[in-house]
Amino acid sequence: MFFIAFNESYTNILIKKAKKGDEGAFCALIHDIEPFVFNFALRMMNGNRQDAEDMAQEAFLRVYRALPGYKENASFKTWSLRICKNACLDEIRRRQARITPVEEIPETFADKTLVQEQVIGMERREALKAAISSLDERSKTLIVLRDINGLSYNTIGEIMDMELGTVKSALNRARKKLRDIIVEQNLI
């Protein structure tokens, strides 16, 4: 027989190790939410990938520093996502003046080899991105969390500290605003 020490659940092991500073364990812990945070930062930074990466990594550093205070009474995913959301919003407010302006449709669409439908599709995508960029902070956050990250209403409510009903109505209004912008620009 051979015994090694382990734990009640793998996530809890990772959390314990991460609290002790094990960066491998920490990365495993946040692995699943990395795409969420990156995409959130990406839309918040209006499509600038470098800014988004910097912001996402800074957000995770904040999670790492806050680890000692994590009490395991809330789900780790929700707890860390909330820290990331706040980190991103703090950074945006700090940089308010320097954020890249609303994206313009890139030159690449001049590529003649692309089929008409593909061009239209890409244009639509870029237009949608631009429309999201011009939303107010809360609407933008909600749309990204719900429709791009695919998080549940409950999770969103916990992350944003909002009531369920409020999340739903705010989200509806956000989508309506988005549609209005798109229609107004006559792009879709």
């Binding site: 015994f3 090694i4 020490a5 793998y10 995409n39 990466e53 990594q57 520093r65 806050a66 999201i132």
Partner: protein, 363 residues
Amino acid sequence: MSCEDIKVLLDEYITGELAESDKAMVEEHLSTCSECRREYNELKALKNQLKELEEKLPEGFEERLTRKIKKEKRSAYFYVSRFGVSVAAAVVLICAISLGYGMGHNKELDNRLKSMGSGAENTAEAVQEQAEADSAEAEQNTLSEETDAITEITDAANIADVNTQDREITTEQVTEAVIPKTEKQTVTEVQPRTENTAADSVGTDFAQTNAVIPQTAEQAIPEAEQPKTAEKAVAEAEQADLGSEADEAVPKNNSVMMKSGLSVQDSAVADFSADGSPEPAAAALKEEVTLLIDGQELDRLKNKLETLARVKNLRDCDGGVAADVENMSYEALKAALKDFDLTEESADIDEDCNFYSLIIKAK
């Protein structure tokens, strides 16, 4: 069902989050209401387009993040060597101030210890240790909520404190009297758990094994245990590979010292000492995960872990090889378990056991 009511449900209907009854209701309404059907189509199209905006993580994202985290850790160390003493003094002050905060933890621990039944005489002592440890923990938590800078310094200071403790242990004879409070607390906590684990279904297996962490075999003889611990602890200290890896947060001296092949002690102590933010509450509540794998796989895993343990110079009281997952880096653990495709789902969780251990048994 009015159209307004249905529209509210459309989002979750599209994502499949609706309960069966609500789903049926929506479908029924959509089949008859063209207005809502149009709304549904528009929403679905928009959501699909938005979903397409999701992008993949950039290449190397995790590597770059890991580098930043390592830098973060190193800067904490920097504070230690630079400010060592004065920071430690500041921490003591802060401890004193926030002592009151930790008192609330006592009741919880009391209940846990009571529910473990035996070792009642140890409760009071353990609770007292717990209170002190908890206040230290509370202090840690309170500070980390304030500013990042203070958190770093606090972490570093605790690391410094632990380092000091370690040196004391390794150079002096280890007896009950000399052992710092934390270890003592751990030892007394362990005994109650002994009975639980012995009573466990895997009791007989424990007795027979010559292996790694024969907690119950050892602890079945509580009398003999203490002196044995002390002797072996000293021997181990001399052999111990102290703070070998720069990446691991804190030297694991304490846990090696108290090891004696007892993983419960290890984890409890490791929890406490490793990064200076003690988790004695966690030490009180552990479960055992039993993995059933057979012959060849078992041998391979055993060999892998033996190699790892040799590298880390871990020994149990019989001079056998111990491998303590608590003290393994995550990467090492992953490497050891990789071939075996071990996941939470493949493990049987034994509800009766109370320690932090994975038992790998032959099928």
